[in-house]
């Protein structure tokens, strides 16, 4: 009988997918990882529906309604939830808009830009509505682990995942969490 693999889901909210690129940077270690886990919903699998999972890994912060719904769903379906990278942990680059009014941000793009025809702020119900500020994900749901970096290096991700899967406390070596 085959030992059942842990189910892992990942997603990118308001992020740049850089953390997922770093995840792919695991290279041949992905084969070792695949021995132990099975990906559920993730940009890597293109599965759209989230199942019951053991681990959820979130890249990116919370900028719109869809981000909120996705994050809430991950929290409800994943036993352990991880904030990966600067945007998930602190809002990151997208949160630089927090110092401006949302109105100014949207007008800058949609009404004051050059070459615009029929300039207006988009209001199609299919487009997720923006929150007035970008928030780190721990302000919306409880987060169990934080993996810092912009993005965290593949080595840091590997250390983190290996220790987590082995049931050990997480200790990242200094070389994997300094960025200069």
């Amino acid at each position: 009988m085959i030992e059942s693999k842990l189910k892992v889901a990942t997603c990118s909210l308001c992020g740049c997918f850089g953390c997922h690129m770093s995840l792919l940077d695991l290279d041949e270690r992905l084969f070792d990882l695949a021995e132990k886990i099975e990906f559920d919903r993730s940009p890597l699998t293109d599965i759209k529906e989230l199942g019951e999972c053991d681990i959820g890994i979130i890249e990116g912060g919370i900028a719109n309604v869809e981000n909120v719904h996705t994050l809430l769903e991950f929290r409800a379906r994943c036993k352990v939830l991880i904030a990966m990278g600067a945007c998930a942990i602190s809002g990151g680059v997208p949160a630089m808009r927090n110092q401006y009014e949302l109105k100014d941000c949207l007008e800058e793009s949609y009404t004051r830009g050059t070459g615009l025809v029929d300039a207006q702020i988009p209001n199609d119900p299919e487009i997720p509505l923006l929150l007035d500020q970008v928030h780190p994900i721990h302000e919306v749901v409880k987060i169990d682990y934080f993996l810092p970096g912009c993005p965290p290096s593949a080595d840091a991700i590997w250390t983190f995942v290996s220790q987590l899967l082995a049931g050990q406390p997480i200790t990242l070596p200094y070389t994997q969490i300094h960025y200069d």
């Binding site: 719904h69 809430l72 929290r75 209001n123 007035d132 928030h135 919306v140 749901v141 409880k142």
Partner: protein, 604 residues
């Protein structure tokens, strides 16, 4: 605003009066602001030009201190003291009343530029609040009728000198006196003792006395003096820390107002012992009202031969004292930040060691002692160390001045021998039905009834003197919230654990206070508090989590009764965060809302 050439002339005169010394920068900026109501870029550039330093250096000072303004500001600047004791006395209602009557929003300047209204940290008038400052001068016992009169005076542009004197009356409520406040002291007695017996004998008496730093840290004063005395260096300094910023403390105010001679004498004795010729009193900006009187006292001491050249006729004994006024920065109570400020810089604590006794003011050996410590030292020089040590406990000799405020019948100053129980103090001040005490200010400890039999001394409950009483009608968390906001305002911003930690702690306390907190938030507070304690650069950040950590242990019910039953609650109102976008797009479809039910359904 003044004409450019007039502005430059005004600034040139002020800088000249301070002998173009960059160490006087903070004093210079205070005076420039007094003339111009705020510090414009032009004014800052002119000060920099006159002093021959970079405008950025001047700006770093101008933007650091609360009482210096780099934005246009009213000719009348009214700041309400916003300590929890002022709040107990109803200051918030008065603040809103005044802003309404004057037609000015809180924390802003009226359109005509005449008046600004805002709040500030504790101004040290807790026994006679609600209190405020107008252009830096203390207003006490505010009431609505008094505010009505102030509105009239402001609108009529009446100069401050013509305002009724009783508005500015500061009373010293001394309810219990012991060896420091009670015994008569003849001016010059300590100086005669040091001349007669010599500095060595005075050091010996200081050692015997066991006197410890009365600011609250409790370092042996004799050890400080000896270390500075033995430190190599031609020029040494004596600094009196009268930057009494700990909310709820006002004993140094009473000492400086009523016992200035005693304090100056203690400083002069110290000068003689360590071989210093110059002393400074660093007086907190909030006590500006007493500067003229203190300068007059210094002058009369010079005339009496107790200060200046050849004290008591001894050509080898020269010592003088200068008053340096702060500008609203709690962190400057930390001795190395205080020295930085004294040097004309922004007040960020230095890395220690080296300590001020070897590398202090201008990097020279310096003794920094609290006001009460110098006053005690003067008495010890006259009466001897054994006399002083006969009071108090094994590790805490002598007496301690306590500043009593909050829910008690007789707020004011109480001098006790070290070792008095909290219960005794509560009885003496007429505290009916006390629920808890904030000891030693927000940076100290919150104690509940269970601990009222503990004793006030360094072995048990150490304190700099603040003693704020909360009775059972009070919500402890109101106090904790007030303190959490206080630390955010006062963090100097130098190190991350304090700068960010104080803000995160405030957000968590606010979240619980407004009924959105969960048990997970309480755990987060404990974790965060631990990081701040261990990781902060100076005492401010290390002690800033104390009120929260103490009250979580001592008053858990004041948190728990506000908690939500869920395991986790968002830190902000998500539906409200969509309001702007709904308005911008005109959307009202279901996806334009985040309902409470959706959120709750997804929570584990």
């Amino acid at each position: 605003m003044m004409e450019s050439s007039a502005l430059i002339q005004t600034i040139r005169d002020i800088v000249q009066r301070h002998n173009k010394m960059p160490t006087r920068l903070l004093q210079i900026l205070r005076e420039v602001q007094d003339s111009l109501t705020w510090l414009s870029a032009e004014a800052i550039n002119a000060v920099a030009g006159e002093l021959g330093i970079s405008p950025d250096k001047v700006r770093s000072v101008a933007t650091f201190y609360s009482f210096l303004y780099t934005e246009p500001h009213g000719s009348y600047d009214i700041l309400f003291s916003d300590n929890i004791t002022d709040r107990m006395l109803g200051n918030r209602e008065l603040l809103h009343y005044l802003s309404e009557r004057l037609g000015v929003e809180i924390n802003s300047t009226r359109k005509d530029g005449l008046v600004s209204v805002g709040t500030t940290s504790c101004t040290g008038m807790c026994d006679q609040g609600p209190a405020a400052l107008v252009n830096g001068y203390a207003l006490t016992r505010l009431t609505k009728p008094r505010l009505d009169r102030i509105v009239g005076l402001v609108n009529a542009k009446t100069p401050l000198e013509q305002w009724p004197r009783e508005f500015f009356e500061v009373v010293s409520h001394i309810h219990r006196a012991d060896i420091l406040l009670g015994r008569h002291f003849a001016d010059g007695a300590a100086l005669r003792a040091v001349l007669k017996r010599g500095p060595d004998a005075i050091v010996e008496e200081m050692v015997k006395s066991g006197l410890r730093g009365q600011g609250g840290a409790g370092f042996k004063s004799a050890a400080k003096w000896i270390s500075c005395r033995n430190a190599p260096g031609e020029v040494k300094y004596v600094v009196c820390n009268a930057d009494e910023g700990e909310p709820g403390t006002f004993k140094d105010r009473v000492l400086m107002q009523d016992f200035a001679d005693l304090v100056f004498e203690g400083m002069t004795v110290c000068g003689r012992v360590i071989g210093a010729r110059q002393g400074f009193v660093y007086l907190r900006g909030e006590y500006r009202y007493m500067v003229d009187a203190l300068k007059a006292t210094l002058q009369s001491r010079r005339e009496a031969g107790l200060l200046g050249e050849a004290i008591l006729g001894d050509p080898g004994f020269s010592f003088d004292i200068d008053i340096h006024l702060g500008a609203g920065a709690y962190v400057c109570g930390e001795e190395s930040a205080l020295i930085e400020s004294l040097e004309g810089k922004h007040g960020v604590p230095r890395i220690r060691p080296p300590f001020p006794t070897t590398h202090g003011y201008l990097n020279q050996p310096t003794v920094v002692n609290n006001v009460e410590t110098f006053a005690s030292a003067a008495k010890i020089a006259v009466q001897g160390g054994d006399w002083f040590a006969s009071r108090g406990t094994a590790e805490s000799k002598g007496t301690k001045l306590l500043s009593l405020s909050g829910d008690c019948e007789r707020p004011g100053i109480y001098e006790y021998p070290f070792g008095v129980t909290v219960r005794q103090v509560l009885e003496d001040c007429g505290a009916k039905n006390p629920q808890g005490i904030q000891m030693a200010g927000p940076a100290g400890h919150m104690i509940s009834e269970k601990l009222f039999d503990r004793r006030i001394c360094f072995e048990d409950l150490a304190t700099g003197g603040s003693f704020m009483v909360f009775d059972h009608s009070r919500d402890i968390l109101d106090g904790i919230r007030n303190f959490a906001h206080f630390f955010v305002h006062e963090s100097c911003g130098f190190c991350t654990p304090c700068r960010v930690g104080t803000s995160l702690m405030r957000d968590l306390v606010d979240k619980v206070h407004t009924g959105h907190g969960t048990r997970a938030d309480l755990e987060e507070m404990r974790k965060l508090g631990q990081i701040m304690r261990v990781g902060s650069h100076c005492g401010l950040g290390q002690t800033a989590p104390n009120p929260v950590l103490d009250s979580l242990d001592q008053f858990p019910e004041s948190y728990e009764r506000r908690l939500r039953s869920t395991a986790f609650e968002p830190a902000f109102d998500m539906n409200a965060a969509l309001e702007q976008a709904r308005w911008l797009t005109g959307r009202t479809d279901p996806d334009a809302y985040l309902d409470e039910e959706i959120l709750q359904g997804a929570m584990p």
